[in-house]
Every structure is written in structure tokens, then in C-alpha cells.
Symmetry: C2
Amino acid sequence: MNEEWVSQIKRGTLEFVIMSLIQNKDRYGYDVIQTLDSYPMLKTQESTIYPLLRRLLKNGYLESYWRNMGEGIPARKYYKITKLGISYLNQLNDDWETLVKNIAELRRG
Amino acid sequence: MNEEWVSQIKRGTLEFVIMSLIQNKDRYGYDVIQTLDSYPMLKTQESTIYPLLRRLLKNGYLESYWRNMGEGIPARKYYKITKLGISYLNQLNDDWETLVKNIAELRRG
DNA sequence: TTTATATACATTGTACCACACAGTATATAT
DNA sequence: ATATATACTGTGTGGTACAATGTATATAAA
């Protein structure tokens, strides 16, 4: 796998993927990281995920709440998609579909 | 279409697409720009394409030659894929396939 | 006729910003 | 000591965007 290229391709795709994950169910940062860990092309570190989540929060696409996990387990900051986030994600879905089609067409010449 | 996101998603995809185009046949920069013009997600300006082509040249994935076009038409700088470029592109193809599958899986949850 | 504008082609300097690297921080369990 | 679970941050990198420069020709407007 081409690490250099993979790190470039994540721009945009990561945001898209994380929004999709959180649309399916509320998630906290660490959970997102663990989930992506099994996907070689999307495996990503804390230093990328946390700022990304905060950016989506700031843009109003996500909202967050803390959930206490009981003795000895650090509280989790859950993220939930907003209405704005849903319409944004719908747009990303369309754009992604278009992109995949465009590329398929260009590749076959 | 989300211009901001589109400009991010082009990182990596553009390189991939341009290598594909040039693998199919030799091309000059302006030709690449015109070709991408009909694909909303990949439409891109000179200031992006020319440096990209030069980078691929420098990395040894492409080689270039000038072709004279006769009276009044500026000479064209054609790019051609190298052996190294072909093996690089094969890798990009695999990575792209993986990415598309990964994302499809993550989206459906 | 002179001037303005559009097309074809290539280049470059500067700025932006998402992701990467590496580190900080707390608490528990082994 | 080390690993796991959870969250945060400062600094660097590098591909793309914006805007402009340059040559040459053809065409439309003044």
C-alpha cells in the first residue's frame, strides 16, 4: 500500500466516512478510531480524528454529549449527527457517487 | 456541489485520474484540463494540473517530449507513462478499489 | 483601422488547510 | 513498568486554489 498517497486520499474521504458512521449511530472518538482500524485505507490516528470531530461540531454538523461509564472508566464524549449534518451528508453521498462514476468512466477511456 | 469538499477530495484522486488518462494515450496538459472539464468532480485549473504533471515527471512516473504543431499553433508538451509509472498506477488502482469497497461497507454499517 | 476579447498553450508565486507525527494527560488493570 | 481506554494539542508537510504572466492567433467590436 502506498502510504503517501493514502494519506492524501483521506482528505475529504475521512470526513465523509466519519459522518456516515455517526449517522448510523452515535459514537465517541475512540470508537471511531477502533472502527476505522480494520480498514487499511482509512486507519487513522487520534491526532487526526479528534480535531476532525471538533471541526464537524463547530460547523454544526455534529453535536456532542458526555456519558459517564461508571467507576474507573473515563467518560465518553459522544457525537450525534444534526439536521444540518444530515443534509450535508446527503450532499457528500451524491458527490461521492458522482466521483466514483466519473473515475470509472475516465479509467476505461 | 460542495466546492470546499470537492477541492479536498481531489487530493490523490487527481493524480490517480491523470495517470490513468495518460496511460490510455499520451497527452499534453491543456488536453488533460479540457478532458477533465466535463467531469464536475474533477474539473481543475491550469495552476493545479501543470505542477502535478511536473511532479509526476520528476518522480519518474511520466516522461515528456515536445511536439511541433505547425504555423501559429504553440508546441505541445506531451506526457507519456513510464514503466515505473505503470507499476505505480497498478498500485493506485488496487488502493482505489479497496477504498471504494471499504467506504461502501462502512456506509451500509 | 484600430482595439478589445477569446482561444490555445504553458508557467509560477503565494496562501490555505486537512492530515501526520509526536507528545501531554488521567485513570485502571496486569 | 506496561497496556488499555479516553481525549487533547502544537508543529510540519504538501497538494490544490487563486491570481497573475507570457506568447501567438483569430475574431468581434469600436
